[in-house]
């Protein structure tokens, strides 16, 4: 009760509410621009916070993070371009809904689920910071490697018709992740003498190339284009029946997002892919996934917005930044002389309570700002095709250049688009490749660190309790998916010939 009174007092006496609203608005803008990551969006604000009072400064940065994580879903749904890594899983069903003229519904579901995920994550942050922090500390390199394997285990579900092609796409992704300096010895690999490749290829470049650029290449030969009249141009929130249907994927997304959020380095991408996979596994409408399922939008969006809140657990509790965005928030704390750790809660309780209150305002204002700007976004994507394609190309060039201020990156994205066109033509799915790119470095670096710790003994992965648990879960996922595929194959083989057509 004291904390609640303190939160209300802070909201009344400090510019906490304007800071939260400004942060969310700025974050949505940054997240919605492909290439402008949540961390860049936050970094641009950091100098402004020097002169601000600490409460508002921290709330401004944290709200920007919340807004940016949500903002990534807007281009994912509307133009097949994930604005952030975590929005990649939203592309599949979100863009399918947009292509069916249900973009307004997809945006409504993503906003509604994002707000719910954010509020759930915030509740977990407030109530469970202490026990969740213990989970974060217990994560060893072995556990991170096992987490990567668990993430890859969803490939079987994301493979579409051909498991072999899904696995091949996943391996291609892992191969791309090996480009750059070796994580242990620093030896350059597959860089062809290009210094731009020493840091590896950012996953967002591959995502923008595969999804957005290859879509532009495809659209150049598309013979049909929907007219403005037969599509939704208004945002549509789910009705009560759909809200009931979305409850399960949202619960899965919130839970997975909470757990992934507290693990430094895991991030929203794994959470959103795993939530998508689990939502599909437990859905009564499995056949709709990949073809415009509302649950396929709700689950990843709930998850990555829950992550935005629970990712603060390791930062506040131990000062461990699990991502670039968390590192900038940590920088914001340090600039104001606030040292994260248990003493932060004792000595600067007002800052922590103010942050919680600010995040609550951010979640609520996410809903209001989303309702204001989404109709405009919908209107924009229903302009004449020639102009829309031209502006998307210009947006891609501008956004991609912004990541490293490098034209080399723009060239890479164009080449990734060529690869995406080939993959479309031969039926190789994109999502397993994206998962491989995202998880490749995490897996390799932690696999090898673990073996250095054990002197080359692979038994170390089974001795670590969390690693063992995650590997067992991954094995269960893989076995379940393979069994389901085998069952469907046998059923199809014994079906009448007409049904096979």
């Amino acid at each position: 009760m004291d904390s609640l009174l303190l939160a209300l007092t802070l909201m009344a006496t400090t510019p906490l509410i304007p800071a939260a609203v400004a942060g969310v608005s700025w974050g949505i803008l940054g997240g919605a621009l492909p290439g402008i990551s949540p961390s860049i969006t936050m970094a641009l604000l950091l100098p402004l916070t020097y002169g601000m009072e600490p409460n508002s400064a921290i709330v401004l940065l944290a709200s920007t993070y919340v807004g940016a994580e949500y903002g990534g879903s807007i281009p994912a749904i509307l133009i097949n371009t994930p604005g952030t890594n975590a929005a990649a899983a939203t592309v599949l069903d979100g863009y399918a809904m947009q292509q069916q003229g249900r973009g307004g519904e997809a945006l409504g579901i993503s906003l509604y689920s994002g707000v719910l995920g954010g509020l759930f994550g915030l509740t977990m942050l407030i109530v469970l910071t202490e026990p969740l922090a213990r989970v974060a500390l217990a994560f060893t390199p072995m556990a991170y490697f096992a987490l990567g394997i668990l993430g890859l285990s969803v490939i079987a579900s994301l493979s579409g018709k051909s498991l072999l092609k899904g696995l091949a796409a996943g391996v291609l992704g892992l191969m791309i992740a090996t480009v750059g300096s070796d994580p242990v010895s620093g030896v350059p690999r597959f860089t062809f003498g290009q210094p731009e490749l020493l840091d590896g290829i950012a996953p967002i470049l591959i995502m923008v190339g595969l999804f957005a650029v290859s879509e532009l290449y495809r659209q150049a030969s598309a013979t049909q284009w929907r007219k403005t009249g037969d599509v939704q141009t208004k945002i549509r929130f789910p009705d009560s029946a759909l809200r009931r249907r979305l409850l399960r994927p949202q619960l899965l997304g919130s839970t997975i997002g909470t757990l992934e959020g507290v693990m430094p380095g895991a991030g929203g991408t794994i959470a959103s892919f795993m939530s998508y996979n689990e939502a599909r596994r437990w859905s009564r409408h499995k056949e709709e996934f990949g073809k415009g399922s509302p649950e396929g939008v709700a689950a990843p969006e709930t998850a990555n917005n829950a992550v935005a809140a629970t990712a603060l657990v390791p930062v506040l509790s131990f000062g461990i930044p699990g991502s670039n965005s968390a590192a900038i928030l940590l920088g914001g704390l340090l600039v104001h002389g606030l040292i994260p750790g248990p003493r932060l809660f004792e000595e600067n309780g007002d800052i922590v309570v103010g942050l919680y209150a600010g995040l609550f305002v951010a979640c609520v204002s996410l809903l209001l700002i989303g309702m204001l700007i989404l109709p405009l976004c919908l209107w924009l994507v229903h302009r004449p095709k020639a102009y829309l394609m031209a502006f998307i190309y210009a947006l891609i060039f501008s956004g991609v250049y912004s990541i490293n201020h490098s034209l080399f990156d723009v060239g890479l994205v164009l080449l990734a688009g060529v690869a995406g066109t080939f993959m479309r033509l031969v039926g190789l799915p994109f999502l397993p490749a994206v998962l491989g790119v995202v998880l490749g470095y995490l897996m390799e670096s932690n696999y090898r660190r673990s073996l250095v710790l054990s002197g080359g003994d692979h038994g170390i992965f089974l001795e670590d309790a969390i690693s063992l648990g995650l590997l067992t879960t991954a094995m269960l996922f893989i076995t379940g998916s393979l069994a389901m595929r085998a069952y469907l194959f046998i059923r199809r083989r014994h079906a009448p010939v007409e049904n096979q057509r």
Binding site: M175, V187, R218, S221, A390, A394, L414, V426, Y447, V497
Partner: protein, 157 residues
């Protein structure tokens, strides 16, 4: 079947090339037991195995199933047309990369917007020119003025 065999052949070429490159990765005194080439070689082997399995499946599939399901594919434009149009968009992108260091971000963006709109069927008109200039101005305000991104300027200045 042709599609899967093409896919398999390309994957095989990628895996062999990647294996050859991985085998040439230098070893450092700091390297662990696995080494910098360890996992890349494993990935190359995995991809080659999957490519061969895909080829085998493509050949055996008609025998395993009583009817092929490829016939259910949706009608699509001719492949040559698809590739030519895709190459056109790619060429506009390459054109942007060549022009931007010389003409700067703003001018290059005007050109890319106009070229794309023309390529997608818009007719050359004052409206198109005005839209391209206005669009480039919006992007300039957003990225250069608001976000402070140092975009390439004319003649690299």
């Amino acid at each position: 079947m042709t599609r899967d065999l093409t896919c398999s052949a390309v994957l095989l070429i990628i895996s062999v090339s990647y294996y050859a490159l991985a085998s040439g990765i230098g070893r450092s005194a700091l390297a662990d037991d696995v080494g910098p080439a360890g996992l890349p070689i494993l990935y190359a082997t995995l991809l080659a195995t999957l490519a061969l399995a895909l080829a085998a499946k493509a050949i055996l599939r008609p025998l395993l199933l009583r009817a092929a399901d490829d016939a259910a594919a949706k009608p699509a434009p001719p492949l040559g047309f698809v590739l030519r149009r895709a190459a056109g968009v790619f060429a506009i992108g390459i054109g942007y990369l060549l022009i931007v260091p010389l003409a700067g971000y703003f001018v290059a963006l005007i050109l890319v917007i106009a070229a794309m709109a023309l390529f997608y069927g818009e007719r050359a008109s004052a409206r198109l020119a005005a839209t391209a200039i206005a669009g480039a101005a919006v992007f300039w305000v957003l990225f250069v003025w608001l976000l402070g991104i140092p975009m390439p300027s004319m003649w690299g200045t």
